[in-house]
Symmetry: C2
Subunit: 327 residues, 2 copies
Amino acid sequence: MNYIVVDLLGSDKGPSAILEGINIVLNEHSNLGVAIVGPIQEAKTFIKEHNIDESRIEYVDANDTVTNFDNPTECYFKKPDASIFQATKLLTSDKKYIGMITVGNSGAVLMSALRFAMTPEMTRPCIAAVLPNAQKGFTCLVDTGATIDCTKGQLLSFAKLGRDFMKYTYKIDNPRIGLLSNGAEKTKGNHLVKETYPLLEADESLNFVGNVEGNKALAGLCDVLVCDGFAGNQVLKNSEGMAVQIITEMMKYGKMTGKEAVCGEIAQYLMKTFDFESLGGGIVLGAAKPIMKCRGSSGKEAIRNVAHMLVNISLNKAVYEGEDERC
Amino acid sequence: MNYIVVDLLGSDKGPSAILEGINIVLNEHSNLGVAIVGPIQEAKTFIKEHNIDESRIEYVDANDTVTNFDNPTECYFKKPDASIFQATKLLTSDKKYIGMITVGNSGAVLMSALRFAMTPEMTRPCIAAVLPNAQKGFTCLVDTGATIDCTKGQLLSFAKLGRDFMKYTYKIDNPRIGLLSNGAEKTKGNHLVKETYPLLEADESLNFVGNVEGNKALAGLCDVLVCDGFAGNQVLKNSEGMAVQIITEMMKYGKMTGKEAVCGEIAQYLMKTFDFESLGGGIVLGAAKPIMKCRGSSGKEAIRNVAHMLVNISLNKAVYEGEDERC
């Protein structure tokens, strides 16, 4: 049986939201097991109460966690038994573990990947988000917040990781790579962008399409949008924040004008189209196995969705174990 | 008569869009004159064709311009007669010039302000944008792209410029200052943000409310949002890009379902609520006189709106000439 490893700690909603997500996953995938890493007692009670088949569950006890106030690098030394570290160690300990889900701190996720799940190439992993774009396609944003201050070499490496991910998982032949900047012209950018541009341009393995401005980030001009973790975090959160804000305003208008029904209907459609959450949170690229990083606020549906994505990726392992012959 | 100085070059739409804007402004403000800096011949033909009173117009001939491909600092030496430089020199040459409008390159606008319109305090100017927030108020974003790579000292100074602007122009008693980051916690941020946080926190003249995440940028948590020009440019453009994308998607839905009329009506409302353009583009803070920086794509209405804002600011000169007794 294949297992997914689930880190039970770090959720804003407590372990129960994650356990409820696991329950859905187990119901939907009858041939899948879950290795739960976290406070065992709470997990065991939940599994029993929900009549879940114990033979599909593994437990690893872990009660320590890396919080948003911690320094992730320090924690690696100070809290070596934190659930995120134990989960990542477990993930790479056996072939049967096909992937991992965590709602933990991004920095701790990166630290875990660096310490326990490096590929033979020893590339620095990044956390990507696959976002819906205006062309009814998807744009892979790298990095979204794992490495906040980046070097040009890291951005080049993120471009390649994003390219491979979109090629093998999304079946895009020659993914277009864009570089997030403050203007479309080659001359625009901060120091980092200006240094990175010639590297991306010179690399013949990349289909580099140049700088992409913030208002075009999700216009579908590129399949992979490269930026440092600080800027990527802004794009990710700002896009989502604006979507929420606009839909909220539309509902207010509906209430004001007595058009609640039609506004509600449009809101449903827009929420589905601009759904940043259900696409599965962030995915660690450049690690030996797929690791999904969900937000701290993720509910059971988000956990269910990323598990679904993990299973899909695992069936088409190209990104993680070299090109798949079936592609 | 008071004059506003208008730089005629740099528009994506050519000088005619700006001239049409000037025509509206002159019709709306009967006691205002305009000093046009740019290709005189085209301007004179327009003024004549539109029967505009010649006594309200001054002309300064300028045919050179700083393009988006130019390095603004180099241009100061290589193209000293570019319209933007001539316009800024004119602005500070006499009391009758109350402000300036340009659609030129942000870097060139900053360079002009630095060279020709510094205040006695010699603070580095920034370009602010005042954006509508979810609390039906406004958030002043500093910087939006004039200084792409910033120092912590510059961010501190931008915070103070933004504070004064919101205090005197928007009548907010003790403006709340937020620092754009990748997490709300004090520990989150890139190097620059982490260095800047303690400076803002320690300054007793600032009502610092801490880090603000990208999804809360326009939530109304702060009246002034401080960031470097690269990040600010992302917030500004990304917010606008998302608004356009969502409204476009809503119109598609209307077409698909035969609900064009109601979708069109909601779109109108949303475009008014999330109208980034008509609020007047960017405004240079920290210069001796107000300089409005419009986008290259600005149409006549945008020019009209920024002129209106310039006149308002000029009537309430607090920000530019010390606190106004009338406030």
